[in-house]
Symmetry: C2
Subunit: 339 residues, 2 copies
DNA sequence: ATAGTTACGGTTACCGATACCAATACCTGA
DNA sequence: TCAGGTATTGGTATCGGTAACCGTAACTAT
């Protein structure tokens, strides 16, 4: 096979200048309709594939939006990515994704690696970064969006919510449902700042309401189903048993629920149980789980819309940074039904 | 803020030629150790970030490996991506990810879009493509890997397994466990070729073993928890009831399991239940689910290793295409325990 | 001391599309 | 028919690195 044709080859074959071919491949450029069709037809016949590396260099536009998430393996973040992708797709913006495994040191490396690709904007999950990571973001010269959080000192734009407040709401709900002693299942502090914020929200509200509470922390984030089960085993062995157990995520809550099933403990009659994140399984479990819907898809979509406006729309990014507050929804369900 | 420094700025500041700076940023190039350190230090001070768009164009190496998966929101594919990413990370290869939503028409568009970025290789999930999609892959001039399948007529390399055979194994297991009539829960045919293959394997083996069987198909792929529950409701309403229900994935199986719980039907005593994919929840449910572990992470890791060898190692890609067979493991668990 | 070898840094010409500027074709109305 | 305008097309320099090649210094062996 000969080597891949380039624009000049198409131009020659079509009897036009390379410049005209270039324009034919841009949707908004002014080229005669017939000319464009002819060029695209010839390009298809010759198997030409547009080379965006060259385009990127000359136009100083990569069409990339870099995104870091803690983990691929999490339906919440996956939903955010979907929302983001879909909000930007028809503006010719493409997501360049990397994951940090819940480590801000990894995040720092990842940010640097991603910036080398010259993204037009960068979206990060969470508002805590290494010092150098933050500096990289600040100096990148492109719009920055922090998501899934409301940082005290944001780098740029923000699309998120207070994890602490959301968990506080959950505590209030359980209080109203009659619980007077609570337990919280979460991971160690390191890494998952959203998890840590949720725990803080739990503690603060439990104190404010003068509820008894205890914390069960197990392992590194992400706290998963197995850890949830282990933590619940520990809680069920304790005396007195708390009235309700709150979990850092639905996955942990589901693990906890199965442990109850294994021991013949009834949820919510013997103990109430709540999760966080509105994962699919929360609606399906028996009983279904009370949880917090953080509107993960919306976070992505709103972030995408914000960036599309600034990169391809009217707005310039010189203006003041925007803060888009997402209001998590408390989804009350069977697992915390009042006795 | 002044505009971003480039290599020549670093060169000037360090008193060396741009070429030396360029080499200092490549790990294997020959530059004096002290020179390199000085250059990197100055670069850091000036806030220089390497521009790979320019590098890509001149060196004709993007460092990208393009990957298409049906859905982000699936732990199996996420595991494959993790394996792939990790196998290639230290070779300087980065995953450029896109999802198809289980549509080969979307896949075609996505392939074209990804090829514009000049990836050094492309990895696709599944062995069925549109005609044009296949042609794009064939003419891309880069290594192609099809995964999660064993196509009859592969485009390039293959890292996968036979979904039909794996499901056949499951039928054999249930036969051995005493089941004589079976049901299969899956989606419609369109799109999810792996799902369709699993169903085919189910039917073929059930016939070979002279078992009674029926198929329950619900909705577009991916078949999820809710559909699993609906399908199980339909099955439980039928008379006579099958001895065992096999599902296209663990998620559907979990939905089915919860429906049994809701109705007070015991698994496996009243009906046996099996899933596919070895998702985390299969180990945690009560009872735990018999499933097939397709070794999703391995698929990614082996694909990554194969590509790293060809792109950064000894092997050239001129040689014959490789077929890496993955052997799925049947994980027998409580949900199909013999009565 | 000299040739031969290695290690390092420098010079130049690109990679392939597009910004920028200019030119030409085409159309409208007087 | 022609001026004046719009729509479409063309020529050229250039984006920021690096391949390919070259020159020189340092070191080794004889």
């Amino acid at each position: 096979m000969a080597k891949a044709p380039k624009m000049t080859d198409i131009a020659k074959a079509a009897g036009v200048s390379p410049m005209t071919v270039s324009r034919a491949f841009k949707s908004d450029a002014s080229v005669g309709k017939k000319t464009r069709e002819k060029i695209l037809k010839i390009a298809e016949e010759l198997g030409y594939v547009f080379d965006s590396t060259a385009s990127n260099l000359r136009s100083q536009k990569s069409g990339f939006v870099a995104v870091t998430i803690p983990s691929l393996n999490n339906a919440n973040f996956a939903d955010t990515i979907r929302g983001l992708t879909e909000a930007m797709r028809d503006k010719g913006l493409q997501v360049l994704l990397g994951y940090t495994d819940y480590s801000i040191e990894n995040e720092e490396r990842l940010i640097e690696q991603l910036l080398r690709r010259r993204p037009e904007a960068i979206v990060v999950t969470g508002g805590r970064h290494t010092e150098r990571g933050k500096r990289l973001l600040e100096n990148a010269g492109i719009p920055v969006v922090e998501t899934w959080d409301l940082p005290e000192d944001p780098v740029g734009h923000t699309v998120g919510f207070s994890n602490a407040d959301a968990m506080g709401q959950m505590v209030e709900h359980l209080h109203a449902a009659g619980a007077r002693s609570l337990a919280f299942i979460g991971g160690d502090d390191n890494g998952d700042t959203r998890g840590a914020d949720r725990r803080r929200g739990f503690v603060d509200k439990a104190r404010a309401l003068k509820l008894e509470y205890r914390l069960v922390s197990l392992g590194k984030p992400p706290v998963s189903m197995r850890e949830g089960a282990l933590a619940m085993a520990e809680i069920l062995a304790s005396d007195p048993r708390p009235d309700a157990v709150l979990c850092v995520s639905d996955l942990a809550a589901f693990g906890a629920l199965t442990e109850c099933q294994r021991r013949g403990i009834s949820v919510p009659d013997d103990i109430m149980l709540a999760g966080f994140g509105a994962f699919d399984l929360s609606e399906i479990t028996v009983p279904s789980l009370t949880t917090v819907d953080a509107h993960a898809y919306d976070i992505g979509e709103k972030t995408g819309a914000l960036l599309a406006d600034r990169l391809r729309g009217e707005l310039s990014d010189d203006a003041s940074p925007e803060i888009v507050r997402i209001s998590p929804t408390l989804k009350v369900s069977r697992s915390t039904a009042k006795r």
